[in-house]
């Protein structure tokens, strides 16, 4: 494996990454002997009622780490455990949000921590079968998960009677094939069922009618990897960390123009100044932070002047952005905001599944407007068109969040960098040239 970039080891407050860096942590015997692995599963299976497990997760206040931030314990309680039909746990390991690498970090360092969380969740909601949907490009994490699952079967932790408990459990891994939209939960389910990944309309929600029409609990990798800690230490201990409404720690992927890009485990509520300037070392010498995406490319941008915003959901909502996937992308003042927005619109246009008209057409349309502006052929017309497209993409006019995200890129970059848009489109000037000349 490559060098670890980011949090690992004993330093204060590491819940998830505490044991990362331990030699052979990916192996079952090391996870058990050195990191206290599978004590939470043992406790859950042998000492706790399923409802008590779900309650513990509710008490922790844990919110989903996949993007939407929904309360995890509440989601678990939506599944009716005692119906006779098969139920599934489906794990979202599609991790395709630009700027996000933390699920890979977990799976490569400690696949068993994820598997333990999955098994606890499966027992809590009454699912005997779990599926991990992992993006197809993750070759190494895929191999590691298969090997870890093999170890579990061999030891009997997966099988007819895990740890002696009469509750058959199995985990399968399903590989994706390169489509961002598969991260959206209902598109993921379509894909798992062997179809083109186009989101379903909700209701019914996956908790009622999910994979293969059965009740399904769908959670992100990091969400589930946090569960063993909560079961070992109690929901109340977890709730003491972070902010009141957004407890705990989370893994932030800090990338782009910083000296120490990496995956940092951060207690929720820290400022982005701390995260970007201290943990990640800030931009290269002589450069300044210009803008950052606080939660993946889908989170509306914040300018340098908002570095003191804290990384909890409430503060980010007040700043008109969101915590999203925890991908913190930093861009310094040697780069042009129009170019960045153009690149992201190319992404959203390319990844649109084509189901809703504004998203299918609007993305390409916006890309063309950016191309004209970047080629110094812009005018007020292009600016007006961009505003119109951004409007059409937002506010529930699209079936899934991809449309909104594309709209937010246009909207938020315009809101904070209006003069750069106008310089570019109306005066055919890029302010980066000026910045670099004065440097």
């Amino acid at each position: 494996m490559a060098d670890l970039r980011g949090t690992h080891g004993e330093s204060n407050g590491n819940l998830l990454t505490r044991w990362f860096g331990t030699a052979d942590l990916h192996k079952l015997d090391v996870y058990e002997s050195k990191a206290g692995g599978y004590t939470a599963l043992r406790k859950a299976l042998l000492e706790m009622e399923p409802a008590a497990i779900t309650n513990e997760v509710k008490t922790s206040g844990l919110r989903g780490r996949g993007g939407a931030g929904f309360a995890t314990g509440v989601k678990w309680s939506f599944i009716k455990r005692d119906t006779p039909e098969p139920k599934y746990v489906v794990v979202n390991a599609d991790e395709s949000e630009p700027g996000t690498a933390k699920d890979r970090y977990i799976m490569e360092n400690c696949p068993h921590m994820l598997l333990e969380g999955i098994m606890i969740a499966a027992y809590a909601v009454g699912a005997n079968q779990a599926w991990i949907y992992i993006r197809g490009e993750y070759d190494e994490p895929y191999r590691m998960l298969l090997e870890a699952i093999r170890e579990l079967r061999e030891k009997g932790y997966l099988g007819p009677k895990p740890m002696g408990k009469d509750f058959p459990l199995d985990i399968q891994v399903y590989r994706g094939h390169g489509a961002y939209i598969c991260g959206e939960e209902t598109a993921l389910l379509e894909s798992l069922e062997g179809k083109r990944a186009q989101p379903r309309s909700r209701p019914p929600f996956p908790a009622v009618k999910g994979a293969w029409g059965r009740p399904t609990l769908l959670n992100n990798v990091e969400t589930l990897a946090t569960v063993p800690w909560i079961i070992n230490n109690g929901g109340a201990a977890y709730a003491k960390l972070g902010t009141e409404k957004n407890p705990g720690t989370r893994l932030l992927t800090v990338s782009g123009n910083v000296k120490r890009p990496g995956i940092y485990e951060v207690e929720i509520g820290k400022t982005f100044r701390h995260i970007i300037m201290e943990l990640a070392g800030g931009p290269p010498d002589g450069r300044k932070v210009k803008v950052f995406w606080p939660g993946g490319s889908s989170a509306p941008v914040l300018p340098e002047s908002m570095l003191d915003t804290t990384c909890d959901a409430e503060a980010l909502a007040a700043a008109k952005s969101m915590g999203g996937s925890g991908g913190v992308i930093v861009m310094d003042d040697s780069h042009c905001i129009i170019e960045a927005a153009h690149r992201l619109l190319q992404f959203y246009a390319h990844e649109s599944c084509g189901k809703c008209t504004p998203c299918r057409i609007g993305g390409d349309w916006a890309v063309r407007m950016y191309e004209r502006i970047l080629a110094n052929q812009g005018s007020q017309v292009e600016l007006d068109n961009l505003r119109q497209v951004s409007d059409a993409l937002q506010n529930g006019r699209c079936l899934c969040g991809l449309g909104d995200s594309a709209g937010w890129v246009i909207d938020s970059t315009f809101r904070h960098f209006r003069s750069e848009y106008e310089d570019h489109a109306l005066r055919h000037e890029c302010n980066v040239g000026k910045v670099m000349a004065n440097a």
């Binding site: 490559a2 980011g6 098969p86 991790e95 395709s96 949000e97 630009p98 700027g99 996000t100 690498a101 699920d103 890979r104 993006r135 197809g136 490009e137 993750y138 070759d139 190494e140 399968q172 590989r175 994706g176 094939h177 390169g178 489509a179 961002y180 894909s191 798992l192 069922e193 062997g194 179809k195 083109r196 186009q198 994979a211 293969w212 059965r214 992927t253 990338s255 782009g256 123009n257 890009p261 995406w293 490319s297 992308i329 040697s334 780069h335 170019e339 960045a340 153009h342 690149r343 992201l344 190319q346 992404f347 246009a349 390319h350 990844e351 649109s352 599944c353 084509g354 299918r360 191309e371």
Partner: protein
């Protein structure tokens, strides 16, 4: 004669039993076909469809939706080069140009004359802390530089890079990025 070998077809026929509903086998089956042939020919997709009792048009509809299925011939070694934001901010576009020149192609998907290489600019590969990066031969390659690309290409051509060229003094720096060419859009559906 069939496009897919008997043992691959046999493996494909065994896939549906692994899933609660047989349709879920379609992508794993296409994986096996693509592994054998390098890309998915119309004949191969038809054979997959027959083996799974699915409509050939359905199978093709699935294959065209996902970018990891190739419907055209590809190089033996494929450079999936990340050009999304975090990699772009650290010089990805210049690396793409360099690969283009080094393997002698002018656009994504085009196969080099010797059949060894093709490249694609791809979206974020989820390893942004190692940007700029790419996937090549089922492995991630990190902290890319022009020199690293040169030696990866040379290794695959079966010749080792000339000494003195690799790792000599400071690596050449990759500068700021240029906007890239628009890409082919996924077929509408």
């Amino acid at each position: 004669m069939s496009a897919l070998s008997a043992h691959v077809l046999e493996e494909i026929r065994e896939l549906p039993a692994r899933f609660p509903q047989p349709r879920s086998a379609v992508m794993p089956a296409l994986d096996l076909a693509q592994e054998e042939l390098g890309h998915l020919t119309p004949e191969a997709m038809t054979e997959v469809a027959h083996a799974l009792n699915l409509d050939a048009g359905y199978v093709e509809g699935v294959a065209t939706f996902y970018s990891l299925f190739h419907l055209q011939p590809v190089g033996k070694h494929r450079f999936y080069m990340c050009t999304n934001l975090s990699c772009m901010l650290r010089g990805a576009n210049e690396l793409v140009e360099h690969v283009q020149k080094s393997i002698g192609v002018s656009e994504p998907g085009e196969v080099s004359k010797d059949g060894l290489f093709s490249y694609e600019g791809v979206e974020c590969l989820g390893a942004c802390e190692y940007a700029p990066m790419m996937r090549l031969d089922h492995r991630y390659h990190y902290d890319l530089t022009l020199e690293k690309l040169d030696s990866l290409i040379a290794e695959r051509k079966g010749s080792s890079p000339r000494s003195g060229e690799v790792g000599a003094a400071e690596p050449r720096r990759v500068g700021t990025s240029k906007p890239r060419a628009p890409r082919k859009k996924k077929s509408d559906g």
